[in-house]
Symmetry: C2
Subunit: 309 residues, 2 copies
């Protein structure tokens, strides 16, 4: 693996940044990794657990001399952070991010960056319901996709270097345009998350079923929803506010379908229900065959001890 980046800066030290750090160290992919987090408590934790070679107390110190700067903050904070780092970026550096929406991030970050810097937006399709600097692990990206959205005119070598890095961290890498990214992720991630949040909220509200019953008797369906609905509130608020159009479109389609199924239940149309459920079962098979899940219940969610070498 070529060390395309001698110095890397991670801005924001949550689940994704910390997993990137352990994954870069596991592969010996880069030279020095500097980290910065706005919260002093997070910086203290990072120092305590050895997260990053150097934890900096200012964002300027972190990005200075960096060949690659990765913004690992909530989508809503990307613009402000870009403005803050811009004056300190090295000429020829690559700036990237890990946000779950791409069009809004590109619109927010792009205008702040100097011309002699390359912005290549990125989105690793990996995560757990945990957050914070302690939640990361080196294997998070293994065999998962990372989508790159390079700005027009970005030199091929710059894109290739970032691709190399992500592949070194275990990911499969593809390029996509921002709008299509936001639609695809709206379907596969954003709408499902909102739906899970909603269902868990309904359960909590229902007066005739006590909270303790919901909790005691939470069967498989609901348990999975609560795990999804335990994801970081700030991150997800920002995702929905910054991928409004696609999310609302998909939710509209969802509501239509839900009404059709509700009607089938009300009218006792068992054939319609059976056919629908048979079709969705087949989709699951497609996902397993595509290697994005396995029958193993812990696929993509195994946290091993951070490999520090």
């Amino acid at each position: 693996m070529s060390q395309s980046y001698e110095k890397v800066a991670l801005i924001g030290l949550g689940l994704i940044a910390s997993s990137m750090f352990w994954a870069m160290k596991r592969g010996g992919l880069v030279g020095e990794v500097r980290g910065y987090a706005r919260s002093g408590e997070t910086r203290d934790t990072a120092r305590e657990i050895g997260l990053c070679d150097v934890v900096c107390d200012s964002v300027a110190e972190a990005v200075k001399d960096a060949d690659l700067v990765v913004l690992c903050v909530p989508v809503g904070a990307m613009g402000a952070v870009a403005a803050e780092i811009a004056p300190h970026l090295k000429a020829g550096a690559t700036v990237s991010d890990v946000g779950s929406v791409k069009k809004a991030v590109i619109d927010a970050v792009g205008p702040h960056l100097p011309e002699n810097v390359y912005f290549i937006a990125a989105h690793p399709l990996a995560g757990t319901e945990h957050s914070g600097p302690r939640s990361g692990f080196a294997e998070l990206f293994d065999n998962r996709y990372t989508l790159l959205v390079p700005a027009e005119g970005t030199p091929l070598e710059a894109v290739a270097a970032l691709r190399d890095l992500w592949e070194g961290m275990g990911a499969k890498v593809e390029e996509m345009d921002a709008e299509h990214h936001d639609l695809v992720l709206g379907v596969t991630s954003h709408a499902p998350h909102l739906i899970a949040y909603t269902m868990v909220g309904v359960a909590d509200d229902l007066r005739r079923v006590t909270d303790s019953e919901v909790i005691k008797y939470s069967a498989a369906g609901f348990r999975d929803f609560t795990r999804i609905a335990a994801s970081d509130p700030t991150m997800w608020r920002d995702v929905f506010l910054n991928n409004k159009e696609a999310t609302l479109e998909i939710l509209g389609r969802f509501t239509e379908e839900l009404f059709a199924l509700q009607r089938a239940i009300r009218t006792g149309d068992g054939e319609m229900l059976h056919a629908y459920f048979t079709r969705t079962r087949a989709i699951r098979r497609g996902i397993i065959e595509a290697g994005q899940d396995t029958d193993a219940p812990d696929f993509g969610r195994v946290k091993k001890e951070p490999s520090k070498s």
Copy 2:
């Protein structure tokens, strides 16, 4: 563990029945277990894998002399099976079931049974997305709840014996009335399953996102939905048709909440979204503290080799 039941009959040999067999054998809880399945193929598979001490080719042969008969067929088939077994039941036998709805099953089964037989409806809150005789494993019920709904006037000893058996299979047992059961499960299981089925169906329909993209880029949220939506179509059709009222009520509440969240997205009300997501995150903590899930990603889904001793 007292062997309250010398002879047990399992009618229907899918995930739950096969797990019950292995769990009963693991604990040495009963004498002989006879099994029956309507499909000859299922009976052949059962014989091949040693599922049940005796696999019978008629339901009459299976239930004859049984001290306990457990109906492990889809909810919609319970009434017909009850009518079929009724003439062959031993006086003083207990009949139970494992259906996911209780009021409809009690209404369907009760009238067919002779007076000298006790009907104690039951529902183990455990399962996976797999089905069929090969999908069972002895640990499925460990530390999960099984809810009992005894008919009025059932002798305490009969209820105690069934409770003992389920506890011997690893379950925590509670009693509940049928209507409340159906409402609680509507919230924690039935509505979430319908929602997952719907979302997976929407993804499959969306023209501008290809199936292969949905499959390749299925991130955490959607992957969990596809697993839920891969559950047995016949079982779930019957659940929804037989728990109409509670399911439709909860879906009504769900739609209301979803509209409120969609409105917050549309109007950019980040505070509302953040507060909502923070509340749902707390519910997850409650479930983990109640011991119904753990941080371990494979909780309740580990399939070990069937223990045949």
